[in-house]
Amino acid sequence: MDFSVAFNAAREALPYMLGGVGWTVGLIVGAMLLGLCMGVPLAVVQVYGPKPARRAVGLYVWLFRGIPILVQLYIFYFGILSWLSNLPGLSGLGLDSPFIAAVLVLGLTSSAYQSQIFRGAIQSLPAGQLKAARALGMTDAQAIFTIVLPQALRLSIPAWSNEYSILLKDSALAFTIGVVEIMARMRAIASTTHEPVSMTFLAGIIFFVLTWVGVKTLALLENKVRIAGYTRQGAA
């Protein structure tokens, strides 16, 4: 293998490959946010909700953790969403776009995982604080929003950054339904340049950099919202 040929091919392919970064970032941001917006309420219901609701959340989590992302992408893109987009009222909404399907699948799956991150964080808080909030006359909703969640979300950041790095790499599966993200571009350009190895390396490096940036950013956030003098048992 001639390294200079491979290197030049990668350098020439770089702009095209970087064009996929926007799609990958869009997938990740969309999916992480969807996962966050659903994961927090799911966790709250699973800890504080009535039994039937807790069961329902448990089932949801099992379902999305149990079915491979690739299978879900097919089910949503070729099945549910393509059926929905043919319904009279929903036809113009672009539900048949592969990007929407990928964000939905990654986001729903992530919400199942994220709900368990938040549930663990909520349950790790000393129960006495909720009692104290109730004793002051707060409703359960007030106590959850002002006392429980601000602490639980802080504690969740390390695990959340883990979830980010996993989801980022899962997003590479979106090429299978035609989202032109990094992986899709890598395959396209590898077949035209006949440089599959260098293109694969290049894709790997781009994913690595994206992971690094995201994890570093979350570490900065974790530091920024740290409570003075507050350490978990066993830390520091």
Binding site: Q129, A132, A135
Partner: protein, 265 residues
């Protein structure tokens, strides 16, 4: 609605029963407390003191029984009524239960804003006044992790006082403290009692509480076994269950002040 008269008890419990894991932790306990009175719950661990206090403000809903605030029965099924009731009943916990993500000032202020709907400015002013009252104005910006146990408990007391409670429930407020920190908390509690605050306190600090209690309530196995003034239960020549319990702990801790394990006033 008629105004409660001077003689109406501030807080009254009738026939409270609580069963936990098949045990009758509270077995038909009744008590009532008048304005400005101090009642002290004593008894061995597992007697039901803590359960009683937590049933009194429905942190643990009693299985049966009634609770009356100023002669009016509290309907704990109504969330609104329950929250209004709890605002008027301050609670101090053994392990402080400060909100770890909030500074001392914010701990005192948060319920004023969220529950009482006060503006941030008014709530801050009030919170600072309460911190001053417990001697912690200079610690307002500290987070709980940077406060000593005694300071945490005083912040917790300030937090409860800021709600203008009609009665305070104190659940072993000094039991989690290092011995040298107990004094600062007891002195705040003494100030409260002298200022006319109505209080029900579970404690093992017998000699301290004898100096401010109007009544001792001795509990054992979920029942009130004895009740009476400290003098009646601990005075010379008295042979009471309270007396013998008190002798036992004074042998261990030197608490009680009597000679040779005696526990006399």
């Amino acid at each position: 609605m008629s105004q409660p008269s001077e003689t109406t008890p501030i807080l009254e419990a009738r026939g409270l029963v609580k069963v936990l894991g098949g045990n009758r932790v509270l077995d038909s306990v009744s008590l009532s407390i008048g304005r400005g009175r101090v009642k002290v719950l004593i008894g061995p661990s597992g007697a039901g003191k803590s359960t009683l206090l937590q049933c009194l403000n429905f942190l643990m809903p009693p299985d049966s029984g009634h609770i009356l605030l100023e002669g009016r029965e509290v309907n704990a099924q109504s969330r609104k009524e329950l929250c209004a009731f709890r605002q008027q009943v301050g609670m101090i916990f053994q392990d402080f239960n400060l909100f770890d993500h909030l500074s001392a000032l914010e701990n005192v202020r948060v319920a004023l804003m969220k529950v009482k709907g006060m503006s941030k400015l008014d709530a801050t002013e009030r919170a600072i006044a309460e911190l001053k009252r417990v001697g912690l104005a200079d610690r307002a910006a500290n987070y709980p992790a940077n406060l000593s146990g005694g300071q945490k408990q005083r912040v917790a007391i300030a937090r409860a006082l800021a709600m203008d409670p009609k009665v305070m429930l104190l659940d072993e407020p000094t039991s989690a403290l290092d011995p040298e920190l107990i004094g600062e908390v007891l002195s705040v509690i003494r100030d409260l009692a002298q200022g006319g605050m109505t209080m029900i306190m579970a404690t093992h600090q017998i000699s301290f509480s004898a100096s401010l209690a109007d009544e001792f309530i001795f509990m054992e196995k979920g029942r009130v076994v004895e009740q009476g003034s400290p003098a009646e239960l601990l005075g010379r020549g008295v042979s009471s269950r309270t007396q013998s319990f008190c002798s036992k702990i004074s042998e261990l801790t030197g608490e009680g002040g009597g000679a040779s394990g005696e526990c006399r006033l």
